[in-house]
Amino acid sequence: MNPILRARQVNIYYGDKRAVRDIDLDIAPNTVNALIGPSGCGKTTFLRALNRMHDLTPGARVEGTITLDGEDIYGDVDPVSIRRRIGMVFQKPNPFPTMTVLDNVVAGLKLAGIRDRGTLLEVAERSLRQAALWDEVKDRLNTPATGLSGGQQQRLCIARALSVEPEILLMDEPTSALDPQSTARIEDLMSDLKKDVTIIIVTHNMHQAARVSDTTSFFLIGDLVEHGPTDQIFTNPRDERTESYVTGRFG
C-alpha cells in the first residue's frame, strides 16, 4: 500500500544543533505507528515536523522532504491546508485559556465559520465521548476549560483535535497524565479510529506501544535506529540497542 506520509533524509536543527538526523520513514494509511526512545532523543522534534509546527519555533529548521499523499509539505503549499489534514495532540495540555469547555472542543469548527449550534453540540458530544471525557464534563460544558484537572484538560485537547476530523493524528504522549481507565479508553479509541485515521503516537510506555501500534520506530539521540512491525520490534529486533531498550535494560 502506498504510504500516506513519507519522510526522506529529514534533518531537524535548533540553531546549529542537529536534533534529528537523516530520518527515512514511511507511514501506511489507517495504521497506528509508535515512536519510542529515551527522553531527549528527538521524538517530539520529529513529530512536530510532520505538520509544520516548527514554523513557529525561532531557530528551528527542517531539511529533507516530507510528503503527504505524494505532495511535499514543505514545498509550495499553505501550511494551514497541511494542518487541516494533520491534527496534533501535544505533550502538555494546552486548552484555550479564555474559552469554556464546549468552546474549546468546537473551536476548530467555530473559528472556521461553522455557526450552527446543533452541529457544534453534536460534534462536541461525539468528540468528548471519544476522548472518554463526556460523562465528566457534560454538566459543566459552559464553565472555563482551565477549571478542569490536568488529565481532563489533556482529554479535552484530544477531543478538540478529533473534532475537526483530521486524516492523520499526531499524538505526543497523550496518556502520560491519565489514569489507567482513561488510558485504556484512549487506547481503544486509537483502534476504533484506525478505519478513518492514521495515527502516529509518541509513548514512553512499552506496553502501550505493543498494545496499540502496528509499527514501531525506535529513536536514539536523533537517529532512527530501527523501524518495523511492532511484533518484530518487540520480539525479534534486528538492532541490539533496540533490544536492550524494549526489554528495559536502558533508557
Binding site: P79, R83, F90, N94, T98, L111, A112, R160
Partner: protein, 287 residues
C-alpha cells in the same frame, strides 16, 4: 539519632534569627510603601482641600466667566478633553494595538526591525515636538487650529505606549496556545484574533488606559494644535480647550477666581483618569 537532634537544634536557634530578619524586612517594606504613598496623598490632599470648594454645578455646566467676574466653570475644557482623548484614542489605540500585534505575532517578518525602531524613536520624542509635527501636518495644511490637530498630537504620543504594552502582554500568552490553534488548521490571523488576543484583553486594556492617562495631562502639544477656546465648541475642526490648557492658563492668572478654576480643573482631570481606569478594570475583569 544525634544528627537528627542537632538538626532540630539548628532549626530552633535559626528560628529566632529568622524572626528578627522577618521583622526588619517588614519594617523596610512598610517604610518604602510609605515613601511612595506620601507624595500621592499630599497631591490629593492639596487638590481636594483647595479644589473641592471650587467644584459646583457651574463648574460642569458653564464655560469660564470673563476675567475678573465671579462664577463660570470649565465645561469647555472638560468637553474638549474628552473630544481630544477620543480622537487620540482612535489613532493611538488602533495603530498601537496593530503595531503590538505585528511585533508579537509576526516576529520573523522583515519589517519588524523597522516598526520597532519607529516605535522606539516615537517614544523618545518630546511631547511638544509631536505637537509641532501635528501643527505642520494639520494646522498648516488646513490653516486652522483644531481638535483634530490636538488629537493627532496626543495620538502620536499614545502609539508607542500602546505598542509596547500590547507586545508585552501578547508575549505572555504561551506559545503552546498558538500551536494548539494552528494545529486545528486555523490560519494565523484567526488564531491571533480569536484565541491569543482574548487571552490578553485585560492587559491590553490596562495599557490603553495607561496611555490615555498619560496623554490626558499633556498641555504642551496642545498649545499650537488645539490652541484652547474660552467657549464651548463641539466642532472638531475648530479650536477646543482642554483641562491641562485651562490649568496652565488659569494657574498663572492674577485673578483668584481663575486660580480656583485651575485647581478644580486639576482635581477633575485626576478624577476623570481615575474613574476611567477603574471602569476599564472592572469591565475587563476575568469572568
Amino acid at each position: 539519632m544525634t544528627t537528627t537532634l542537632r538538626h532540630a537544634d539548628r532549626i530552633a536557634t535559626s528560628r529566632g534569627a529568622r524572626r528578627i530578619r522577618n521583622v526588619v524586612a517588614s519594617v523596610l517594606i512598610g517604610l518604602g510603601t510609605l515613601v511612595v504613598l506620601v507624595p500621592l496623598f499630599l497631591i490629593f490632599w492639596y487638590l481636594l482641600s483647595r479644589g473641592l470648594g471650587a467644584i459646583d454645578l457651574d463648574f460642569f455646566t458653564r464655560s469660564p466667566a470673563p476675567p475678573g467676574e465671579a462664577g463660570g466653570g470649565l465645561l469647555n475644557a472638560i468637553v474638549g478633553t474628552f473630544m481630544l482623548l477620543i480622537i487620540a484614542s482612535l489613532i493611538g489605540v488602533t495603530i498601537g494595538i496593530g503595531g503590538g500585534i505585528f511585533l508579537a505575532e509576526f516576529p520573523r517578518h522583515r519589517l519588524v526591525p523597522l516598526v520597532r525602531l519607529v516605535s522606539d524613536v516615537l517614544s523618545g520624542i518630546p511631547a511638544i515636538v509631536l505637537g509641532l509635527v501635528a501643527y505642520g501636518l494639520i494646522v498648516v495644511t488646513t490653516r486652522q487650529f483644531s481638535a483634530w490637530a490636538g488629537g493627532v498630537a496626543l495620538g502620536l504620543l499614545m502609539i508607542p505606549i500602546v505598542v509596547r504594552t500590547t507586545e508585552e502582554v501578547l508575549k505572555l500568552v504561551p506559545t503552546s496556545v498558538r500551536e494548539a490553534g494552528l494545529s486545528l488548521g486555523l490560519p494565523q490571523w484567526r488564531v491571533t484574533l480569536s484565541i491569543v488576543l482574548p487571552a490578553a484583553t485585560s492587559g491590553i486594556v490596562t495599557g490603553v488606559m495607561l496611555a490615555v492617562a498619560r496623554v490626558a495631562g499633556e498641555a504642551a502639544p496642545l498649545l499650537f494644535t488645539a490652541l484652547g477656546n474660552n467657549l464651548l465648541n463641539l466642532d472638531p475642526s475648530k479650536p477646543v480647550s482642554a483641562l491641562p490648557l485651562s490649568i496652565y492658563v488659569f494657574a498663572t492668572s492674577a485673578y483668584p477666581e481663575q486660580q480656583r478654576l485651575a485647581i478644580a480643573g486639576a482635581l477633575v482631570l485626576i478624577l476623570i483618569i481615575f474613574v476611567a481606569s477603574l471602569v476599564a478594570r472592572v469591565a475587563t475583569r476575568r469572568r
